[in-house]
Structure formats: C-alpha cells, structure tokens
C-alpha cells in the first residue's frame, strides 16, 4: 500500500503508532513554564519595589487629604499623574527583574556544559583510552541521524552503566560512564541501547530546551525566590526597605511556594515524557530495541516509589518504559493533571504579565491596587493563552489518535476543563488578581465557565480536525499542512476569546461590585438599583469589545462543532500508513472505530461530537434516548431551566431582604416546576400515545412490586409544592405579597398538574422500567456501588430530614426578617452534612488507595484547621477577608491536590464530595464571619444568605452531574460495554 492510501490494512493493526509523525507538545510546555517563571519573577520584583521605603513615600505623596467643611465628608484626592509615574517605577523594577533573570539564566545555560564537564570530571573519549569506541559512537550517531556528531566524554571512575546528554545551542555533549564504556567490550547490545537513547534526546531536541528551562528555574531561585523569602523572614532588611505592608508578604511567599512547587512538578513531568520519547526513538533502531528491553527489565521498576519521589523523578518507572517499546500510545496521551498544570502555569504568567503591562501603561499597581485594566489583561491573555492553546490542541489531537487507535485516553472535555480550570487557578495563585475578583460569585462562576467552555471547544476543534483529515492526508507533511489551518485558527480563536474574557471580566465584575456597594451605602433611602445600574452600565466595557467577545466564542464553538461533525464522518477510518511504525507484530490490536450506538443518542440531543469521545452532551443524549423523551419535553425542560435562571438571577441581584424573600420562594417554586413540567408532559404524551395499561392497575402492580419509595417521593413533591403555593402563611411584615402570591399560585398550579401527571406516569411506568429505574433504589444501589457506608447514608438522610424540618419552619414564619433567617439554616445544614460526609471519604480514599500520602493528608487537615482558626479569630468581616486572602492559597492548594487525585483516578463521587467540601467551606465560612446573627440582619447577613444559597445551588449542581454520570455508567454497564 502506498503511503497515504488511508485505511490501514489488518496487518498494520499490530504495529505501533509513530509518535514522531505528529508534533509534540513538550517544547511548548517548557515554554509555558518559562513564561510562568518569567511572570512570577516580574511579580516578585514588583512586590519588592512597592514594599520599599522609596516607593511607599512616592505613593504617599500622590494622595492628599481634602476637607470641605463640616457639611461634607472628608475625602482623599489622588494625583493620577503622580500615580502613573510611581507605577512606571514599578514597571522598571519588574523589567529589571526580568532582565536579571534572563541574564543569569543565560550565564547558567551557557556555562553549564563547562561546569558539568569539570564537576563530573569528564574527559574526552579518545581511541587511546578506549580502543574502538570512538568509531562505534560515530556509527551510532549516523544510525540516530545526527550530524554533526556530538562531543563524547567519559568518566572512567564512574562504574555505573549510564550516560547523559547535555549541552547548549548547537553544541551537544554525550557523557558516558566508565561502566558503560566497559560494556562496549562485554555487551555491545547494551552499549548501543544506552548510547542510542542519549542520541535520541539529542535528535528529539530535548537538550537545548531542557537545559534552557533548567537554567531559567535555577536563575529564578537565585534572583527571585531567595530575595523574597529573605525579605519576608529577615526583618533586619529594613535598610533595604522592604518594611511596608509586610503582612502581605506571607501570602506572597505562600503563593510563591505553590508556584515553585508547581513549576518543579511540571518540569519533572515533561522530562519524564521526554524519556519515553527517547526510548521510543531509540527503539526505532533494531540495534537498540532488544538491548533496551534487557536493560529495562533488569532495572528496578520504581513504580513503588513514594508518591512525591515519583512526582519529582525525571524518569518514569521501568515498567512504563518497557510498555512504550511495545505500544507507543502512551506517548499520545495527555493527562488532566498535565493539562491543569499547563493551564496554571499560563494563569500565573498571565496575571504577572498583565500587571507588568499595566505598570508600563502608568496604571496603579501594587498592593490594594485595582486589577490591571482591560487592555493590559487582554494583551497578556492573548500572549499567554496562545502557547497554552497550542499545547491543548496538540494534546487533544494526539489523544484523539490514541483513542481511535487502541488506547484509553483522556477526552477533550476533560482536557479542556482541566486547562481552563488551571488558568483560573493559576491566576488566583499569582499575587496579582486578574479577571473577576469574586465580589460577585455568580459572575465569577459564569466567567470561569466561559473560559473553560472555550478551552473545551478548542479541544473538540482539534480533535475534529485531526480525525477528519486523517484519512485524506497523503503523508505527514501533507497532514500537517492540511490540519495546520484549522488548528492554528482554533488556537487563535481561543486566545482571542480568552483575551476578550479577561478584557470584559474585570469591568463587569467591578460594575457588579459597585452595584452591591452602592446598594449597601444608600440602603432604602434612594433607589439604589437604578443608580447602580446606571453606574454599572457606565463601567461596562464598550459594545464593540463585548460583540467581539461573543463573536470569538461563537466562531470557536462553530469551528468545534464542524470539526466534530467532520470527525464523525471519518470515524471508520483506520490509521494511515504514515502513522505507523513498520516494525513489530506483537502489539495490541487497535480498537474498532466504527460508529457506536452512543452516537445515535448523542445525535438526538444535537450533540456534535465524535462518539468515542466522552462528553456530557453525548451522555445527556444517551439518557434522553434511553428514556425516550419527546422533543417537546426537551423543549419544556430547557424552558424550565431558563425560567429557573431568570428567577434566580433577580433573587441573587436583589439588594434588599424583602425582595430577596419574594424571589427566594419564586426560585424554589420554579425549581420544583422544572421537573414537574417535564414529567407531566411525559405523562400526557405517554397516556395518549400508547395506553396499554390502566392507571389503577398500574398503581396496584406498583404497590405490589414494593415501589413505595417512588410513591413517597411523588407524595413529598406534591406536599411541598402545595405548601408553598396554596398556604403561604400569614402576611409577613413589610412584604408585598400580591405579586409573589400571584406568581406562586400560577406556578404552583402548574406544578401540581405536573406532579400529578408525573406521579401517574411513575406508577404506570414501573412495571416496564424495571427495578433499576426506581430512583430510591437506584440511589441506594449507587451508594453501595461506590462504597458509601451505611453511616454516611444515615447522616445524609438525617440532614435531609433536618432540612425539611427547617424548611417547614421557614415556610410558616410570619416575618420576612425571620423567614430570611430561616432560609439560611436549611441551606447551611445540607452543606454541613455534606462536609461531615465528605471529609472522611476523600481522606480515606487518599490514604488507602494512593499509597502513603500522609504528608498531604496532614497538610490538608492542617490547612483546614488554619482556615477555621483564621475565621474564628477574626474580629470583623474586613479583617476576616484580609486574612483569608492571605492564607487562602494553602487550603486551595491542599484541596486542589486531593481533588486532582480523585479526578485523575476517576473517583467521581469522591470528586463531587471534595467539591462539596470546597464549596461549603468557601461559601459558608468565608463570607459570613463570626458575627453572624439570626436576628440582627444587616447587609452582611443578607450577603451571607446569598452566599449560602449559592453554595447550596453548587451542591445541587455537582450532585446532579454526579447522578448523571452514575446513571450513564450504570447504563453502560448494563449494555456490557
């Protein structure tokens, strides 16, 4: 078969994928690391300067106090020109830090080979010292395709069987140990294998970029990390000037520590991947394959290393390396941890660069300064997100090939989510805040979701482009040409969309914050809504920018959909000849990529995706198809969701407890209405379309089949809705009831109709759907399947009961004030129950299943204790916020670690529980403060209620996602796939 004829014939199915046929993401990941290091350095130098005496005095002179008499409040006047000049000084320091970093790194990089030669006592390898070896090395360089040959040196006193590649620029060195050279005479096969592995590093371009990155890391430690740590721990440095606002420094140092650890872990991960590539390259030569196999089989596996050693090791376990000799699909995988770390590095770099740009533009930067302006954030985002986008696109494309070939690989959805989340987390880890600050959680969530969605769309676009063009390319060069336009376009779109997000995020967030602040200041004396809405409208970014952002997103999503559809059309295509290594016959067979049944259901929901790619839309479609929902029902469900959103939004945005009270009830009604409408429609449709069994008969058979829990669920639904709508209680003080009552009546009647229909349907469907369809039984079975203990179930059930009790109290309360207090408790309790249930589970999971990560477990527990301690000892909300901002990275990092591990191991339920913990802690403890009082409800308490409501909604959302996934998994198991 000529190259590029497309479909691989059956003999090819046993051959390995060629990992070098496609571009690798290694270089760009190193580049992202470099950006993060550079950004962190600039950030640190900005901190060093802004905490110094000269900077402090300089800024002090920019602000003057103005007193306009007793009738007017005092105010501060800021000289913007003066601030701009001060900021430019900060920019100079940041740039100086960057220049210093680059200079030191360049010196290290340039001098490292000479240093290594001297330090390791390496001497040139001559024919006099080792007869015959020089000629053999020249021959091996030819086999590896390297010209000119690297410089060889050796240390005769090193008795181990090892070698190392190093160098700078075009100057490459390969150092051999004396033990290895002795193998030349005793075991030529082993000698060739090790040398070809090192030459593969040279050929793969690892030497230059690896040592450049390491030089950058070392320079970072020398010129940034050490000074900031010393500035924090040595107060005697007053002479140098780092004296002001030293309370901020611990937070900076903590963030810096996390960033440094992240960089170190990322570097090690990339280096491990490069080792696998070198093994694969070396094994392409028949001379090295068997030698490498022997060496790796003799080598201790290393898989039982402590987790932190494994994470920091630059070599993968021997077993993993051996597998690459048989099956290279591991080189096509890109885990979510890598994606998250890449995103985090990008986020760190982004925040720092944005701050630098802002300083250069004369904006106010430094502690307590507003976030960088929209243009600064947009420029930084575009610069940083572009390489991150290329990494993601390449990774998604390679994963798609691996998945289509034979292997389990992470889906574009997970990769996109991880990278997007990484960018958000990385931005938060930086000492400069970019994007929404979190003053409005709803907007922050929406903004983050948009960023993640953009990353997911990019990943899907890359997958689509890869699979769609796979069969048409006549060779790797042709393939690259064909795919380049689409992938490059997608990455540009992603970077543009991300830049637009960062550009619009801060102004909108600021506007929303002003809205809340204005409402708090003016109270009910004025019309805060109108005033602040005007202010918000003024502060919003311009229409062209907003339109551009929407357009970038729209085009990106369209490209993703087109790519996915094209990928689906190419789903029957096998691997083309040029993607396979023409050697082995003992590798596993590739998977059949014919159309799976899941695709049909995915299409029902309009999910534009390749069927082999895991994605929620496909799963939703599958469920929809499994339950045979009609299009009208889907429309009703979507409408219900919109209705819910529309009701929720004004509740959240409401500035007064009175309005909030109304909206709260409306929201609850709408939430109940949503499933009722769907089920009710379903009941009617089924009743009229295929009436095969009488309702009474069905009810009897249902009871006979012990479907009592289902009946109980339906009954409780009816009762709750009835209570809300039909018996609204006594008139509460200060609350205008008519509107709420009217809406509630309307919604409640509709809901009752839906509930009634749904109940009938549930009874009617029981005999046909079988036991697994019973919600209560499914829940219990799911709990058992996931190892939820009985005690946990009891705790959760107790929480539900208690919540119901509080709900009834809330409902019957006469006063809006009290009612508002009650509504907090029902929201707090489930979250508390979730914490009680959730904390032991991930901890147990972590300790039992992942080896012995006692350190991290202790770190997690300690961080939580610190957080609670900080919360408990703060005097007021302001102090609390300040402290939390300083110490937040600790629990975030610890929780994030556990969460990542759970996610990586596919322990979805654990993930959900951990998320619940994080949400509960963040939303319940942090914004509330110790002065929370049920009776004296001020603005803060109202805000706390909003936070709590959001927390509960978050719990509901993650629970729903978990349920969806569990049902999908169960359905898959039933199908036997």
């Amino acid at each position: 078969m000529c190259e590029g004829d497309g479909v691989a014939a059956s003999p090819q199915r046993s051959r390995r994928l060629d990992p070098f046929a496609l571009p690798s993401d290694g270089g760009l990941r190193f580049g992202t690391l470099g950006l993060a290091v550079a950004g962190a350095t600039m950030s640190i130098y900005g901190v060093i300067w802004t905490t110094s005496d000269p900077a402090w005095h300089e800024r002090d002179q920019c602000t003057s106090f103005r007193w306009d008499g007793f009738d007017a409040p005092p105010s501060y006047v800021t000289d913007t020109d003066c601030i701009a000049a001060a900021s430019r000084h900060t920019a100079v320091w940041m740039l100086a830090g960057l220049v210093l970093l680059v200079l030191v790194a360049a010196v290290i990089y340039r001098s490292w080979p000479a240093f290594k030669l001297r330090w390791d006592r390496l001497q040139p390898l001559t024919d006099d010292d080792a007869p015959g070896v020089e000629a053999a090395l020249a021959e091996l360089a030819g086999v590896a395709g390297i010209s000119p040959s690297p410089r060889y040196s050796w240390n005769p006193l090193n008795a181990t069987n090892s070698a190392v590649a190093f160098g700078h620029g075009r100057e490459h060195h390969v150092a051999l140990s004396g033990g290895l050279v002795s193998r030349f005479y005793a075991d030529r096969e082993l000698f060739d294998a090790v040398v070809l592995h090192e030459l593969a590093h040279v050929r793969n371009g690892d030497v230059r970029i690896t040592y450049a990155t390491m030089a950058l890391s070392r320079a970072f430690v020398a010129v940034a990390f050490v000074p900031i740590v010393i500035g924090w721990i040595v107060p005697m440095l007053r002479g140098f000037g780092m004296v002001h606002q030293n309370t901020e420094l611990p937070g900076v140092v903590a963030r810096l520590a996390v960033v440094s650890a992240l960089v170190l872990l990322m570097r090690s991960a990339v280096l491990r991947a490069r080792e696998l590539y070198a093994d694969a390259r070396a094994s392409l030569s028949g001379r090295a394959a068997s030698g490498m196999r022997r060496l790796l089989e003799a080598m201790p596996d290393g898989g039982d290393r402590r987790w932190w050693r494994a994470a920091l090791s630059v070599h993968p376990p021997a077993s993993q390396r051996r597998r690459v000799l048989d099956d290279t699909t591991a080189l096509f995988r890109f885990g979510i941890v890598e994606a998250l770390a890449t995103g985090a590095a990008a986020g760190i770099a982004l925040a720092s660069l944005a701050s630098a740009f802002a300083a250069l533009a004369g904006e106010n930067v430094g502690f307590a300064a507003p976030p960088p302006s929209a243009p600064a954030q947009a420029a930084a985002a575009f610069l940083v997100l572009l390489p991150a986008a290329v990494v993601l696109a390449i990774a998604a494309a390679r994963c798609a090939l691996a998945k289509a070939a034979r292997a389990d690989a992470d889906s574009p959805l997970r990769l996109g989510v991880a990278l997007g989340a990484g960018v958000v987390i990385g931005g938060d880890l930086s000492s400069v805040s970019v994007g929404p600050s979190g003053s409005n959680e709803l907007f922050l969530i929406a903004w983050s979701a948009a960023l993640v969605a953009a990353a997911v769309a990019l990943a899907f676009a890359a997958v689509g482009a890869t699979l769609a063009w796979l069969s048409r390319a006549r060779g790797r060069a042709d393939w690259r040409r064909r795919i380049a336009f689409r992938v490059v376009g997608s990455t540009l779109l992603f970077a543009a969309a991300g830049a637009a997000l960062f550009a619009v995020g801060t102004p909108i967030d600021q506007a929303l914050a002003d809205d809340e602040e204005g409402a708090a200041i003016f109270g009910s004396a004025a019309d805060p809504l109108a005033a602040t809405q005007t202010a918000a409208a003024d502060a919003l970014p311009g229409v062209p920018l907003r339109v551009a952002a929407v357009l970038a997103f729209a085009v990106l999503i369209v490209v993703a959909m087109v790519g996915a559809i094209a990928a689906r059309r190419a789903r029957n295509t096998g691997m083309p000849e040029w993607l396979l290594i023409p050697d082995r016959a003992d590798a596993p067979r590739p998977r059949d990529v014919s159309a799976p049944a899941a695709w049909r259901s995915a299409r029902l929901a309009g999910a534009p995706a390749h069927a082999r790619v895991w994605q929620p839309a496909a799963r939703v479609g599958e469920l929809v198809a499994g339950r045979r929902l009609m299009p009208g029902e889907v429309v009703a469900a979507v409408s219900g969701a919109l209705l819910f959103g529309l009701t929720f939004a004004p509740w959240y945005g409401s500035a007064s407890a009175y309005n909030s009270y109304e909206y709260t009830k409306q929201t609850l009604v709408a939430a109940a209405l949503l499933p009722c409408v769907v089920v009710g429609l379903r009941a009617l449709a089924d009743r009229f379309a295929a009436s095969r069994i009488g309702v009474i008969r069905a009810a009897v058979s249902s009871v006979a089949a012990s479907r009592i829990p289902d009946a109980a669920v339906a009954f409780v639904g009816v009762v709750v809705i009835g209570m809300v709508v039909l018996s609204p209680g006594d008139d509460p003080t200060y609350v205008v009831r008519d509107e709420a009552l009217g809406f509630g009546l309307f919604a409640g009647v509709a809901a009752l109709c839906g509930i009634a229909g749904g109940s009938l349907l549930a009874i009617r469907q029981v005999p046909r759907l079988g036991r697994a369809r019973a919600p209560a039984r499914t829940l219990a079975a799911s709990g058992r399947r996931h190892g939820i203990t009985r005690g946990e179930m009891v705790a959760a059930f107790g929480g539900v009961l208690f919540t119901a009790f509080l709900f009834v109290n809330w409902y019957w309360d006469e006063s809006a004030w009290h009612s508002f207090g009650w509504v907090k408790y029902p929201l707090v309790v489930p979250a508390a129950v979730a914490i009680g249930v959730a904390i032991p589970r991930p901890t147990t999971f972590w300790v039992v299943q992942s080896g012995a990560p006692a350190v991290t477990t202790v770190a997690l527990a300690a961080s939580l204790i610190v957080l609670v301690g900080v919360w408990a000892t703060a005097g007021d909300v302001g102090e609390l916020s300040e402290r939390v901002e300083t110490y937040l990275p600790l629990p975030v990092a610890a929780t994030g670690t556990v969460l990542l591990l759970a996610f990586a191991r596919g322990a979805l339920l654990d993930l959900v529980l951990v998320v619940a913990v994080a949400l509960a802690i963040a939303l319940i403890l942090l914004p509330t403060g110790p002065t929370w009082s049920g009776e004296q409800m001020g603005r803060d308490d109202w805000s706390a209620g909003v936070h709590l409501g959001l927390g509960a909604l978050g719990l509901i959302a993650v629970g729903a996602i978990a349920a969806l996934c569990e049902r999908t998994a169960a359905a898959r198991r039933r199908r036997g796939t």
């Binding site: 330090w119 390791d120 005769p156 006193l157 090193n158 008795a159 069987n161 002795s182």
Partner: protein, 163 residues
C-alpha cells in the same frame, strides 16, 4: 615533596596498578583495555570513585544506576591494601634495621609481576589482615557483601599467589 617520597609514591602506584590489573584480569578481562586510562584518572582524583557522578535519575540520563565496572573498585581496594602493606613494610624495615620500605615494596611488585621467586611469601595472618582491609574498603565503597567478598578474596589472592 622530597625525592624519596616521590619514589615511594611511584612505587605504591605501581603496586596498586599491578594488584588491580590482577583482579581485573581474573574477574573482568573485558575492562583491561580501559584500565590504563582508569588508573590515570584514579591517581589524579582517588576520591572520585566514591561519587557516582552520573546518577540514577539525572536529567536526560538513561536512568540506570547499576554498577557494572570492576576496575574503579579494584583500584580503590588495591590502594587501601597497598597503604596497609606500606605501613607493614616500614615497620618491618625499622624492626630489621636493614633495607628500606621502598625496596621491600619493589620486591613485592616483582613478585606480582612474576619476576621474582617466592622468597618473601606472606604469612597466613598477614594475608588475612590484607583481606580484611580489602573487604572493609569494598564495603565502604558501597558494594554488596557478596561482591565485596569476591573483590577482597581476589585482591588477597593476588598478593598470595603473586599474580
């Protein structure tokens, strides 16, 4: 450094090389082509053998760390043995009041090279002490007990049999 010391050192190095060569020839003959260069490097920096400069997990290394060469260890063990023998030689010559330690060492070298009849044979006690010194050094170098035993036996055996 006086000329006597230099001469003594030269003799000691010659004895070390001869001992190590015996051991390598017996147990790792494939390393003989490298022995000269290895010995030169060793005499330049003897302490370097204790450092595994290309480690197990070095960046862009192969990742292996198993010891496969004998010569560096043979040289180091031989060095310890020769130091011990030199001390013995000094004691013997001082006690006898005739000859020099250097001369005694040279005779031992001739024995090792097979150029001299077996007229200065070591006693069993002396050989046991030599073996203990060799074994201790091998253990100090981090060799496993079985390999240290082999190396110590080979070194002591080389002295006993004169190569």
């Amino acid at each position: 450094m006086s000329s006597d010391q230099e001469a003594m050192e030269r003799v000691e190095r010659e004895l070390i090389a001869a001992l190590a060569e015996d051991v390598v020839r017996a147990h790792a003959p494939e390393e003989l082509p490298l022995l000269r260069a290895t010995a030169e490097a060793y005499f330049e920096t003897p302490e370097a053998v204790l450092r595994r400069v290309i480690g197990k997990d070095e960046t862009l290394g192969f990742g292996a760390s198993d010891v496969v060469a004998l010569a560096p260890y043979a040289l180091t063990v031989a060095s310890a043995v020769v130091t011990f023998l030199a001390q013995q030689a000094i004691a013997v010559t001082q006690e006898a009041g005739a000859g020099t330690a250097q001369g005694l060492l040279e005779r031992w070298i001739d024995r090792l090279r097979g150029r001299r009849p077996d007229d200065d044979a070591f006693t069993a006690e002396q050989l046991r002490k030599v073996r203990d010194v060799a074994y201790s050094k091998a253990i100090q170098l981090g060799l496993p007990s079985d390999e240290a035993t082999v190396l110590a036996d080979a070194t002591a055996g080389g002295i006993a049999t004169g190569g």
